[in-house]
Symmetry: C2
Subunit: 224 residues, 2 copies
DNA sequence: GGAATCCGGCTAATGGTATTAGCTTCATGG
DNA sequence: CCATGAAGCTAATACCATTAGCCGGATTCC
């Protein structure tokens, strides 16, 4: 009967630990039983702090999205300083702009490697939102939607800083996300046979993405 | 008591139906209960034909890999004919070679859109193989490993046909897979907000991938 | 200070899942 | 015609989430 001193935040924190301990798939395999055990509490007690497994997943996803958002923000601002050195050359810079994109991509991959479960939680977020978790008035759903929107906005900013016009922003963001997530998903799923030169392969993917963004910028300049 | 006339193959076929009926996530959410119900049989009866849920998943993954392999093979050979028209120009063709890559990418995406669950099963395969399902003497594990190797070999062939030297094949295949799978995974996970112009965005991703492969070929020519 | 309330733990019960054990029955082959 | 084996079944076990309802300690209010 000694109180464990739990709270929604504490449960989420423990959940994040459990998810991280499970590697990739740690989010999918998350279980209330595991959280309860680590909290030193019986399973039903968790329902006093959290709506259930789905709600806990949504909260964990929200935290994960925020964490990735911070990483992206840091990559953006960290290289914006470098990029601001040459002032009026925002239209034809291939150096600093590309560097910012590379840093962004590497930051996301590093996050995924450091926190596979959290990264999976981020990818899980859209499913939750599509299934009506947001907009139903639930605070958890709204928080997740807001965090996801912020993260996507961050990617928009990064590509806008590349001089990409609004009309191609959607395509640019999708190219960025597809490239990075495709590599990371395959890497974490064990899809690449040997861990042979993974960093070099990732560089190839990133360079293709950077070149694709530049091509997109060029194409839009022509069609305008 | 009337016999249902099941067999391992029949169970797998029903499992494929169930997986397809579940959309993306249909593979993850696959349940023996659903298969048994559709087969008109009690759950434990399935164990007479299949080793259990994991074994059924492995067999479904094998079938899915084979199906995708056929799609890739068709995309390869279908455009190899076109490519063979100009004979000795295998080194500098930007047209027919790129067309083959585009067809390959579109074929994979079409497969994923037509059979989301099977596509998920394909991505699930490496996990099974890593966890020692192959090489343990089990026929199911060996069959999956063989099917996966065949599929990867098919991708190798496609890039070799692009004039990519052996040294960059690994990077090229990883670029191809990352690009296509990244887009498809995000698309199927609902990661792209609106279904707005998805085809156009995919084209952007594919073109970036094609250009990346060509860059890879060029870079290897220099470093040699 | 004492009483009422509420909060956060608990146990018990329900229903879904996979898996194993063991029974029965039908079809088949000697 | 009977023996055997394959293929179905029920029963039982073990895990999971979820709900209902109890209980005790802390807090708050008079």
């Amino acid at each position: 009967m000694p109180r464990a001193g739990l709270s929604p935040e504490a449960v989420v924190a423990i959940g994040l630990d459990v998810v991280d301990a499970g590697g990739p798939g740690g989010f999918e395999r998350l279980t209330l039983a595991a959280v309860a055990e680590r909290a030193g509490v019986a399973v039903p007690s968790l329902y006093k702090h959290v709506g259930g497994l789905d709600d806990l997943r949504r909260r964990i996803a929200t935290e994960s999205v925020r964490a990735l958002d911070e990483v992206v923000a840091e990559a953006n601002s960290g290289l914006a300083a470098t990029s601001r050195s040459g002032t009026g050359s925002a239209d034809t810079d291939d150096g600093s702009g590309a560097a910012a994109l590379r840093a962004l991509a590497r930051g996301i991959r590093s996050f995924a490697l450091a926190h596979p479960g959290r990264y999976a939680a981020v990818q899980f977020a859209p499913t939750q939102l599509r299934d009506g978790a947001a907009g139903d008035g639930s605070a958890a759903g709204d928080a997740l939607a807001a965090a996801a929107a912020a993260l996507l906005g961050r990617l928009d900013d990064a590509l806008r800083a590349q001089g990409l016009p609004e009309a191609c922003l959607v395509d640019g963001v999708r190219l960025l996300r597809s490239s990075v997530h495709g590599f990371v998903a395959l890497e974490q799923g064990g899809g690449f046979g040997l861990p042979d030169d993974l960093d070099r392969s990732f560089d190839v993917v990133v360079e293709a993405m950077v070149a694709g963004v530049e091509r997109l910028r060029g194409a839009s300049a022509i069609s305008r």
